[in-house]
Structures are given as C-alpha cells and as structure tokens.
Symmetry: C2
Subunit: 141 residues, 2 copies
DNA sequence: TCAACGAATTAGAATAGTTCTAATGTGTAG
DNA sequence: CTACACATTAGAACTATTCTAATTCGTTGA
C-alpha cells in the first residue's frame, strides 16, 4: 500500500484476475470494457487488433490472442464459437444466450430471462457442466 | 423407368436430395449412414476421409468436404461447431441437442425430450429462426 | 450403344485463423 | 536499483478449409 493513487478500475480488474497490468493488456481491456456498449461487445481477435492499431496502440496479434484467452480464463470474457473459423469474445459474462445473424455474421445478446432451459439433463457421471451455450441462428426472411 | 433394379436406399436418398449418386458420394453416404450407430454419428471431415481410405475407397479430402456440405444443405446432415477449428457433422438431423466433452473433444446427442426452451424470444423483424443450437459443455469432475 | 455435355472429382496451391518459437523487453519484489 | 520472472514480439509454422484448373464421370437423347 504505497502509490495506489492512479489506480484505475481496469488496473484493479486485471490484478484481481492475477494478470500483470501491462501497457498492452490495459489498452486492450480499455477497448473491450470501456468503449460505448462495453458490457455487450462481440469482437473477434482480428477486429480487436485492428481497433488497437487504429488507436495507435502498438500491440501484436499474438498478444491480442494471448490476452483474449487470459481474460477468458479469468472470467472477464466469454468465447462464443459460431462457425468454423469465426469465434467471438463477449464482454457480457452473465448468464445469457445469443442471436446469430447468418447473413451478416453478427452476434447479439438475448436478454437473459427470455430463454430458459425447461429441464437440464444431468451431467454424465464424472463430469460437470462447464457452460450451456444456446445460439439461435437467424437467416434472411 | 428402365434399369432401376439395384436401386439401393442410398441411391434413392441421394437422388431425392438432388445429388448425382457418384461412386464417391455413395461410398461416403454408406460410411455415414450405414455404419453401426449410423443415425447418431458425429464425425469430422478428416475422420471421414481417413475412414474412407481405410476402407480402400479412393476419395480426395476436397470431395469429402464438398460432399459433407452438400449433404448438410440437403438436410441429410447437420453441422455442429464446438470450437474454433473443430466442427462435427451429425447424422441425426432430428431436433435435438448436444453434450460436448471438453476434455476428450467428443460430442454426444442428448435425447430430444430432455432439453426444451421454455420460451423462445421472437426472431427480430426480417429474419426467421434457421436453427437453435444448444451445447452443454462438460469438463472433468 | 454411344456421343456429348454438364457435373463431379482431383491434386495441389492458396487462404484464414490461430498457435508456436526464440529473442527481446518490462513490471515488480526486495 | 537490480534481478528475475513474466510478457511481448515478428515471423514462421500449423490446422482446417476452400479454391483452381485440369481430368474424369454420369446421364441424357438419338
């Protein structure tokens, strides 16, 4: 407890997650969580990388991947796979599901109350449910 | 209507789907639908290719991909994406969902009655629901 | 039966997304 | 301030998939 003055919420968030708040991780976290709509973003690694470069944040693609995975492991993000070779990271980690627009490739949260499982089958012996993914795939009318 | 004698169910199935029953497509369809457990197989393109080669069926990987996609479009198969770079083709096209064993990478059908949506949200204007995917991800106890 | 045409197959190159490697740089505990 | 573990990097490598252009095959009609 010494120089904790410019101790932003992001720094705290990273430290709490056991991640050193490096320049790159802070910049990426800022883009992810402090953009408008930051509690409901769906972004790919490439998109985030492009966004960072656009903001003149020097960061390699490898670091973007590393950080996204670390954030995901730490529970700060959630990964949603919609197609082979297209996986999104969602800043909303609460219990909710997704609309996937097959035509545009966009992903959208469904407010949590709207979809509920009527009865989850029991997990087979020796396993536990890590997550339940529900994706409602939409195509043009 | 001339020489329709050795007109196997598979040939019929392909023709009905608008696909010419070529040697390769027939061989792949046979592996997919007439193996033990053929109404509940989960297989990747690479696996099917290997299986075909193992049975001395000469077929290229490109054709395996083509056929799998054509079968899927025709409603004979269903594609299930579980991880970036891992997508399965399911011979069970009825309405049902999946267990995914994260440790082994295996996919397993959940009997249809066991999971039901309590209330599906309405599809946004101008779209229709193409499919609802539910994947229950399991990890070691 | 066979010619001819469109459709299917092929090997291999190309692409996309992601991970790896080994060298360099950085945050932090003491 | 130093030292060391951890993080970052460019670029190569890897995996899954798609594309390309040449070849082969299935079907239709005479």
């Amino acid at each position: 407890m010494s120089k904790d003055r410019p101790y932003s919420a992001l720094v705290h968030r990273l430290k709490t997650a056991g991640l050193r708040p490096t320049r790159q991780r802070l910049a990426l976290a800022k883009l992810l969580f402090e953009s408008p709509g930051g509690d409901d973003r769906h972004i790919t690694a490439e998109q985030l990388h492009a966004e960072a470069l656009g903001e003149s944040v020097r960061v390699s693609l490898a670091t973007v991947y590393n950080s996204l995975h670390q954030f995901t492991e730490a529970g700060l993000l959630r990964e949603v796979v919609v197609e082979p070779g297209r996986s999104y990271f969602d800043t909303n980690v609460s219990d909710h599901h997704h609309f996937y627009f097959e035509d545009s490739g966009e992903l959208q949260d469904i407010p949590g109350e709207h979809v509920q499982m009527e009865s989850l089958p029991a997990a087979p012996a020796g396993t536990r449910v890590a997550r339940v993914d529900v994706i409602i795939r939409l195509s043009g009318d």
